[in-house]
């Protein structure tokens, strides 16, 4: 098995005639935590979606866990079933209980028997301190709780790679903390993660690598602490200052 769980080479993508990604290359090693930062509109969400082909890439190659995602014969459902995707807006299924949100994909995608799916889901909810919400509905929970449930739903699939798209940015500052704590916990367990976030604390303390994306290209990549404290280019510096100002004012 390759030590790299994800390889992206020369990825180009966009919408209609609007080019968004102009040749992005990156990789994630097994167990590695990689943070992506970049200005709004730089193509971060598009990049994550391309990795599981929720957006169709125009060109380039994506290999996930040894499987070529970009091949015409790729089994997309199996590839998606072994990655976890966490959205900025949680996207839980509001008409199902928290427990059902976790067991449904286990039953219909992973084909687990109902009992086993429930056992697994409850174990995970317990681990993330969400057990008391198992029989509640998503809209009865706070945003932070909903996002933790969404993380639990993604983890339930035993993903080889967890993709998270700004998991804390829809939340009020006081609710971000509980989600961050959950993310730290998962990072500690050694799960491979590719996470778009502007949380500098997380990038510094939990990430192995930081990638800066701007206007559809990777402009800098390296050790998070180094990049944040000794940015090499003016552009990086300006960008980081902008983020810091935002996270202070938020």
């Amino acid at each position: 098995m390759t030590p790299r769980v994800l390889v992206v080479e020369g990825l180009k993508a966009g919408y209609g005639d609007r080019v968004v990604l102009r040749g992005v290359s990156l990789s994630v090693k097994r167990g590695e935590k990689v943070v992506i930062m970049g200005p709004s509109g730089s193509g971060k969400s598009t990049l994550l979606k391309c990795i599981v082909r929720l957006v169709e890439p125009w060109a380039g190659r994506i290999v996930l866990d040894g499987e070529e995602v970009t091949s015409n014969s790729a089994d997309l459902r199996r590839i998606r079933a072994k990655t976890g995707f966490v959205f900025q807006q949680y996207n839980l299924f509001p008409h199902m209980t928290v427990l059902r949100n976790l067991t449904l994909p286990l039953e219909v995608v992973k084909k687990l028997p109902k009992k086993e799916a429930e056992r697994k889901a409850l174990k995970l909810l317990r681990m993330l301190g969400l057990e008391e919400f198992a029989h509640k509905y998503p809209l009865q929970l706070s945003g932070g709780q909903q996002q933790r449930v969404a993380i639990a739903r993604a983890l339930a699939m035993d993903p080889v790679l967890l993709l998270l798209d700004e998991p804390t940015s829809a939340l009020d500052p006081e609710l971000r903390y509980e989600v961050l704590e959950t993310l730290f916990e998962i990072a500690r367990q050694g799960r491979s993660m590719l996470i778009v976030t502007h949380e500098l604390d997380f990038a510094e303390a939990a990430a192995d690598r930081l990638i800066l994306l701007d206007n559809g290209v990777v402009i800098e990549e390296g050790d998070p602490w180094e990049m944040i404290h000794n940015p090499r280019t003016e552009r990086t510096k300006r960008f980081l200052v902008k983020i810091m100002r935002k996270s202070i004012s938020a």
């Binding site: 599981v52 929720l54 459902r77 995707f85 959205f87 509001p94 995608v109 509905y137 809209l139």
Partner: protein
């Protein structure tokens, strides 16, 4: 006063007719819903030939009078060897017709479900069919409740067309009563009143159903 006694005296007879009306309405509504649940996604998700067929079906049935469809099924089909009794023919005609309207209601409701719900289902590895069945449809049906109840009320009224081919439902019962009492005014007033009461009660179902099926937490207005 005499007319009041007369109306009361014909009520039991009319109630019998009403039961047939309700049988026809409920059966054809359920048939319509079952078809609509397949037609609406066929129009949206299916590959081109199938979605065109679904669309053609919907437009054809909405673009021609129900009475003509009924006559076609009852009097027309026998000449290609399909002979149906009047009761079956009218359930079939009304059901097929209502399917087209319900499919459009459902399609509208599906459009109101955020695209992100579909995306989330797909991101978990669900097929389009699974995403529709477990995620989009249950939410769309809730959104569609008022329009579907409205369609059911319309259908109760339209089921009076069954009288044309001799099904003895509420309207036809009324015609019989007029034929041997010659009191058209009182009889048809009574018939109209019964339709009115039943439709008013059915409309009430909207509120009850909506309340019963409301997504918990939704009342807070969070999306």
């Amino acid at each position: 006063m005499e007319w009041a006694f007369f109306i009361i005296s014909i009520i039991p007879d009319l109630i019998k007719g009403l039961l047939t009306t309700l049988e026809i309405s409920v059966t054809s509504f359920i048939m319509g819903l079952a078809l609509a649940v397949m037609l609406a996604p066929a129009r949206i998700f299916a590959p081109r030939p199938i979605s065109l067929i679904a669309r053609g079906y919907i437009e054809l049935l909405r673009g021609t009078p129900l009475l003509v469809q009924l006559l076609l099924i009852y009097f027309g089909l026998p000449s290609v060897g399909i002979k149906l009794d009047a009761y079956t023919a009218c359930i079939l005609a009304i059901g097929l017709n209502s399917a087209a309207y319900q499919a459009e209601i459902l399609r509208g409701a599906m459009k109101s479900i955020p695209e992100t719900q579909f995306l989330a289902a797909e991101s978990l590895g669900m097929s389009t069919a699974q995403a529709y069945r477990y995620v989009v449809l249950p939410q769309a049906l809730r959104v569609a409740i008022p329009a579907l109840v409205n369609e059911f009320v319309t259908l109760i009224k339209e089921s009076s067309l069954a009288s044309v081919i001799g099904v003895v439902e509420l309207t036809r019962r009324g015609e019989y009563l007029v034929a041997y009492t010659f009191r058209a005014l009182e009889v048809y007033v009574a018939v109209a009143l019964i339709y009115f009461v039943v439709c008013a009660l059915a409309s009430q179902a909207t509120r009850i159903l909506e309340k019963k099926l409301m997504i918990p937490g939704y009342e807070r207005g969070v999306t």
